[in-house]
Amino acid sequence: MVTGMREAFVDTASGLLAGDPRTALVLADISADAFLPAQRRHPERVLNVGIREQLMVGVAGGLALTGMRPIVHSYAPFVIDRAYEQIKLDLGHQDAGAVLVSIGASYDAASAGYTHMSPGDVALLDTLDGWTVHVPGHRDEVAGLLRAAAAGDDRVYIRLSTLENRAAHAPRGLTVVRGGGRALVVAVGPMLDPVLAATAGLDVTVAYTATPRPLDTAALRALAGTDVVLVEPYLAGTSSRLVAEALADRPHRLLALGVGRAELRRYGSPKDHARWHGLDAAGLRASISGWL
């Protein structure tokens, strides 16, 4: 019984290490305890470099250049924000692949403050070419996404969170969860349950994806009329560009909801931050119904 997304990741990654000698795991102390059994079994493929995130990503690039498949894991602000140039050069510019798996998301560690938040991780990867981004909404979506990512050679980011929906859904593509008429509301990952609660009784279609990159623009075009609402668990507007491109040939309106840019300088809980960013059910309902 997995107790959360991180545990699902540890279980699945440990299984991949046992099953495929191409798999390597690169850590910078975060979650090292959870991987100790795997490290004892595969000491040359479970590599904890210490608190050295630039090296963590550089090592992943070097491993990939020798034909291995590195899985890289840390807190989102450390694996993405801190090591951005290593992601750009040691992976992308080398034409090397890796699977980056983060925990922490936008404000899972709200009580730790802004240093441990990464609302901008997906936007940062959007500056680079060729990244697939998975934002699972439930722990049971993690294993399939990770196994598929590990089987490839490309660049994949899997963004785990302690915020989850009550049930797992199909994590790929854009799939309708509730049909309606007046607008299409796209919920990414853990935003689905708040969106469903916020839109109860509203005449809107709610569609879910846990794979915002590449965004399923074919389904978006098929499901959207003229009014689209994006609800993302990272920086508001991160996917606006892709919606605008997908609907460039038709007049449309877009409401893009997500985490605000302003640093709140408050601690509290993830639920507090969701409320402050207008991403709880009440805040979403106010934004969406006001816009409709």
């Binding site: 040359e44 050295r52 630039q54 090592v59 690039g61 070097g62 250049l65 020798t66 291995m68």
Partner: protein
Amino acid sequence: MTTTTTGAERLPALLRRLTGDEKHSPSAYSTLDVLWVLYDRVLRVTPATVDAPDRDRFLLSKGHGPAAYYAVLAAKGFVPEAWLDDLAGPDSRLGHHPDRTLVPGVEIGSGSLGHGLGLAVGTALGLRAQGEQARVYVLTGDAELDEGANHEAVAYAGATGLGNLTAVVVDNASATHGWPGGVAARFHGWSSAVVDGRDHDALAAALTGHDGRRPHVVVARVEPKW
């Protein structure tokens, strides 16, 4: 058609094709002798084995000013000599920083300083995990060591005894604040050799002087840049 295994005496002519400069002597290139000795005497890699899993790896971390690198690759037959005549042109595969996807035999794209050592550590770990006996050489400059990313790699490789890794630091005393106590003293847990970066026999001995249990650093001292 020139033969691909000519000696070092051809390097000045190859460099002139890259730079168009008739006056520069080979000594203007701080890395030239190290690169020649590596490719001529040390590295187990040839144009025929650039994709072989068990080849030795050479990673040029200090990617700026790669004329000496390209000249050596051409002299050894990794790239056609004709490529040297259009350095950084719109259709050239050779730029002022190398791109591994464009140049046969080039293991990493570099230019932004401080990336090669981390990639080299990962490459060495990957070879070790796959049971390959190949060795990884990475070339940096003394000023490049200012970049903090290097220190993550140096400390980790030293602490874990990464025995299939050799760093070559071409020291032309160009680091703005210098390295008091010497460059080699910063490589804790490594074996080290400090040699004249123009002495081919001394370089060859130092570059093969690893013990296999620790990473090895060769500091190749050349004329100060300033």
